[in-house]
Point group: C2
Chain length 727, copies 2
């Protein structure tokens, strides 16, 4: 029961939400939870990972592949479509344990009831495969027309991206290729059909699609069944995507749906045996946490090299399919503890895109690596200078995410260092990790200004995690992370001491000798805002405490338009102390060992009522710090908010007039962190795994596993304490 | 003829404009050019200099005194009011040579024609006096009711300011006092009437006024005449303003209108004999230039100590009656060359307000003197953090004029140094001038950041003269002015070398020893953007050339609302190269000796088409530099635009939804500069006065005087050359 996410009834008003909620995927693609008969108006998408294209001057975004699942049943000439046809019953669900999407619909029409049952999965063993089983049964004997094939007329936010469609058919296999406008990527989908019925078949092409039509008389009470074996390849994978797609589709069809499903189930059972976190005493939390883990696992780039995860996962093109700091700061911990190979993959993506980060730094007149705020395939920054649209004038608003959110480079360095510490693999550093970290430290050295007045280096004119306050000076989080990056750079050089030739070569290559000296100076004099002696509070940035001290509700009440952007120069939050998301609290969470409990408590209490949680990254951090200071009851509602964000669909849908909906993998990762690092109090230090549980009062027990280097540890905690043992 | 500014006809739609255009004043007060019968709906104002008050949370602004001129003639019970009554003829004019305001109106009503003639002046010999002569003549014998007195129900932008009215009357003298809400200033107006007719008199009071009513039967064809001797005193002048006002009004009345007018005329004749600039060959230019000089003379704080001139003169409360950099950079040169005592007065105002500038620096965490962007009586900054209202949302917009327009301190230092150079009076430095300059230099030292990356000091996050671009780095003008301030500070210390005790005391008082060392370092390493080797262009600020390069018209065409603010974070100009006003061109004008002619020409040509001239400070600078590079024909239209800004009334009336109308003394001063320093090419260097004329082709001759130290020089220039001789 706690493995099923299910909805009953049509609920057409939630079609877009359900597209996210019932997402399936395998890291190579995500397929939104839409009905087989839907065309692009309901935002179906087979969203591809790491392959982007730009249409005109619009934002670059990931490509949606042609929809190989497209299937429409006509009964007596009448389309049986969930949107337009009355239904007696309808159910949509995800079986998380098996990673299966299931649909059951009983239509009622002039020809009587028609039952449709379908199941689909994004193969966990072959990332190119999307499989579907589909059956239908009629109450009365009636003429049937089944249309199924590949619909290339896909939904795009800033499209179209696909052009020059070419069609293929041979036997029961159809193929559709298209070429993207900017990058000339070829995207191919092939689909092989197996039916347990016969009829009059014909294949027809549209400009952007290819379909089979089968007509026959369906007998009352008999169930008809067919399967589709869909294969997706792009020219980023292979030189001849059509050849590969046709071959893969064909051989999947030969292997058969049930055999492929069995492999898939086994793979997922194995994944869950490592990744699951069991909670006793709270079914709701259990379901939400599992769902969060499910979401992380369907988008993990397991079988792709040097690929990362976009901020909206593979749920569509929102946020340009770009990789944000979300990955390192919010998703990476889950993978590091349960699936280190995937974690390394995420890191490799940053190593691969170092040149992009160097180019960005140079563009702004800095040295070192300034990572993209919204990173696409080569590390190029998809973030526009105008990332929000003014609701009053419909004009683009100049935003500073791209140029001022400099904490991104620290997040990258932090992620690499965490990964190195968990895996202990020096190769990670020597294969590019060290170079990235040194270049990130160099960037901060280059960015910093020295203020003789105060005899210190400052990081001025930045945006911290709280994006509602633009162009601030000495954001505590940013300065601390920059200082930490310099620290890491020093430690990396220490780690390389046993590889003197490599180290010397790297320093020479980077002309880093002088930088080391400068970093040493900067380390001494870089200003990091400290807790106030009296109040214990860390000021979020210079002058923050002088801003209007008000409430989130007051600020909300000042909105003229509900879609108004709260930040920017004149947003309702900009001149107040109201923040979008954890900022100082994030700093205290990451560096919790360095601050007194009283400081952490005071800051939590100060910043909590002033936080709007306009970002899904925020609540989990409040949950984590609340656990750390021994208040799991404070943490619990934040944990639940985080863990259920993609279940309830109650997240922010707009920034200005820009649609930002989709799944929330950072929150999913945050839910895992809050549970395992928060409530269970998991700590890994100097090669030892320990727990310090702070369970909510109605939780009896938690059980989970973590991996450290090559070892797998079982963990079980209760309110009284916990135990940890090696597998 | 070229001394008269005149308008015919009612032109009621121009009532507000004419209020500015026909302004009279004497530095202590300005009286707007409105009709005697107007109440506050037509924005009459007796605007007082240097006395401010705040109502609630509104902007602080100067106080308008009760209107002592108020006079309404009723003919057969019917008010003869220019706004409502038909007229056969109406004329309003300023005789600039005599500084007289004159009105002639022929009303036509049911009782036949009624002629009204009035004349008023703000006494040039006693700043507290406002005099009026008023006569009327009826076509037919009719009942007359004359109401004249003091109307304390004044127009305010952010009022009311006057409370606790008290009324006084004795004989023909009426008095009205009121107390301002915030500062508890007492403002008193007394008015003594002399008539050449008799009638039934009664005095009546309203809550905010006191009036005489005189009723009689006026005989056809007979001219009736009366005079009003109005005296204005405040508690800033004397402890008992009522006593002084009554006495002054009374004795003025005894002296008589004609005698006072004669003294006034003599005074003004003398002023003009020094200040006039004669142009042969261009009557239009002659009139406009004289009018500019008239405007400067009526607001000059001749008889007040340590008082400066607000940006809108004494034409009302716009711009909060505050003193801007306009004074030092645009008005001071006229006074320095023609009336050095007034120039010193302006400088004394800055010396007096040094503590305010220190407090402002401290408020932002800096040392030294950060002068107010909008300076009121104690140097407190009237500039709000929200100086513009968004036309779309009606919300106040966060502006950065107050916190980022740091070039104001350099303007103050520059003004003092110019004044010292022209007058040669070391006392000016020793009585506070030196201290101000040193504190301004200290401010820049304190503000500057060092960028190790580039081995230089930078002035970051500022607003230059071009306010359409907020929060820019290394504004060329600002950096150059800061460098010059440091230069001046060094020269000041040299000047004090002959006064070693004073110098030592000053350095000790300011704890300046270490500062000197630091300033020396800063002088070496402060970054001042230089002309590009290839193009000769100076970049207005870092990254300016990367902004959209478009035209003023294109940017204007993007306005949704004509009152929209062009600057701010999202204004139509903000992300383009379109600038509000001369910025680099101002820098080149001020430091013209330092740059090659070719550089000046290239920058003029580059920036000219990109300048919107949204500030009245802009055109004169383009005129000046055009003269300097030998192109008076380029300069001429800019000169005319500057010189006629208050004649045509064609200036910007709104910034956002904020009314910014009024007179433009900076443009008036700019017109004088363009004529004398530009076309005539006057140069004073090392005690020598020389000219290098660049006359527009239709100008035959210019004649004017200038004062240098104690000497007065006559200057006469033609296209062929010029001559200069001592008086």
């Amino acid at each position: 029961m706690s493995w099923l996410i299910s909805e009953e009834g049509r609920q057409l008003e939630k079609t877009i939400d359900f597209g996210n909620k019932f997402l399936i995927g395998n890291g190579y693609f995500g397929y939104r939870g839409t009905m087989e008969e839907y065309d692009k108006s309901e935002l179906p998408a087979c969203n591809l990972s790491g392959i982007y294209d730009q249409q005109g001057a619009s934002w670059r975004e990931p490509i949606n592949a042609p929809n190989g699942l497209y299937t429409q049943l006509f009964v007596d000439g009448d389309p049986y479509d969930l949107r337009t046809k009355e239904v007696c019953a309808h159910q949509q669900q995800i079986d998380m344990h098996q990673a299966l999407h299931q649909r059951r619909t009983v239509f009622s029409g002039k020809s009587g009831e028609v039952r449709v049952v379908s199941e689909r999965f994004a193969s966990g063993t072959d990332k190119h495969l999307l499989l579907m089983s589909y059956s239908f049964c009629l109450e009365n004997t009636t003429n049937i027309r089944l249309v199924t094939g590949i619909d290339g007329d896909v939904w795009d936010i800033n499209g179209p991206h696909l052009f020059e469609y070419s069609h293929y058919s041979e036997g029961q296999t159809l193929g559709l290729s298209a070429i993207s406008g900017e990058m000339k990527h070829t995207i191919t989908v092939a689909d092989t059909l197996t039916t347990d019925f016969e009829g009059t078949q014909r294949i027809f092409e549209t400009e952007k699609g290819i379909f089979r039509q089968i007509e026959f008389v369906a007998q009352a009470g008999q169930t008809y069944h067919f399967t589709k074996s869909i294969a997706i390849y792009t020219s980023q994978d292979v030189a001849e995507p059509l050849k590969y797609a046709v071959k893969a589709s064909h051989s999947a069809n030969q292997k058969g749906y049930q055999a492929l499903k069995k492999e898939h189930q086994q793979e997922w059972a194995q994944r869950w045996s490592m990744a699951d976190v069991e909670i006793e005493g709270d079914d709701e939390a259990q379901l939400a946490l599992r769902y969060s883990i499910y979401q992380l696992m369907i988008i993990a780039p397991r079988n792709s090299q040097a690929t990362s995860i976009p901020a909206r996962g593979l749920s569509g093109q929102t946020y340009k399919g770009a990789v944000f700091w979300d990955t390192e700061m919010f998703m990476l911990p889950f993978f590091l503890h349960t699936e280190p190979e995937t974690a390394k993959n995420l890191i490799d993506y940053r190593i691969k895109t170092l040149d992009g980060a160097r180019a960005k730094a140079a563009e702004y007149g800095f040295r070192g690596a300034f990572y993209a705020w919204e990173s696409q395939e080569n590390g190029q920054d998809a973030c526009s200078d105008y990332n929000v649209t003014d609701v009053f004038t419909q004009r683009p608003m100049r935003t500073y995410f791209r140029d001022k959110q400099i904490h991104i480079s620290a997040a990258v360095a932090y992620g690499i260092w965490e990964t190195f510490q968990m895996t202990g693999e020096l190769a990670l550093l020597m294969n590019g990790g060290a170079e990235v970290i040194l270049e990130c430290a160099r960037f901060y050295n280059s960015y910093a200004y020295y203020r003789p007045e105060k005899e210190r280096f400052e990081l001025i004119d930045v945006i911290g995690p709280d994006e509602y306050h633009e162009r601030v000076y000495n954001n505590a989080y940013t300065n601390k992370m920059a200082a930490y990056t310099i620290n890491i750079a020093e430690k990396v050089l220490e780690q390389l001491e046993d590889s003197p030739t490599y180290k010397a070569a790297l320093i020479e290559k980077l002309a880093y000798e002088q930088e080391i000296e400068q970093l040493r100076n900067m380390k001494k004099a870089l200003y990091v805002p400290q807790p106030d002696d009296q109040t214990g509070l860390i000021e979020q940035f210079d002058g923050y405490f002088k801003l209007e001290d008000t409430t989130v509700d007051t600020v909300r009440s000042r909105l003229i338009d509900p879609k108004e952007y709260w930040g920017g120069a004149y947003g309702v939050a900009a001149d107040t102390q109201i923040l979008k998301q954890a900022d100082v609290v994030l700093l205290l969470t990451l560096f919790k060992e360095e601050y007194a409990k009283e400081v952490k408590r005071k800051n939590w209490q100060y910043y909590e009522p002033r936080t709007e949680h306009g970002s899904s990254l925020s609540p989990c951090i409040y949950a984590l710090l609340a656990c750390d200071i021994g208040d799991p009851e404070w943490a619990y509602p934040y944990f639940m908010k985080t863990a259920s964000v993609d279940l309830t669909g109650e997240s922010k849908q707009f920034a200005g007039t820009i649609y930002i909906g989709g799944t929330h993998p950072a929150a999913n990762g945050g839910a895992w962190m809050a549970a395992v690092l928060g409530f269970a109090g998991l700590k890994i230090s100097e090669g030892r795994v320990s727990v310090n549980p702070k369970l909510p009062k109605h939780w009896q027990k938690m059980r989970f596993k973590v991996q450290l280097k090559e070892e797998i540890y079982h963990v079980e905690v209760t309110k009284e304490g916990g135990k940890v043992w090696k597998q």
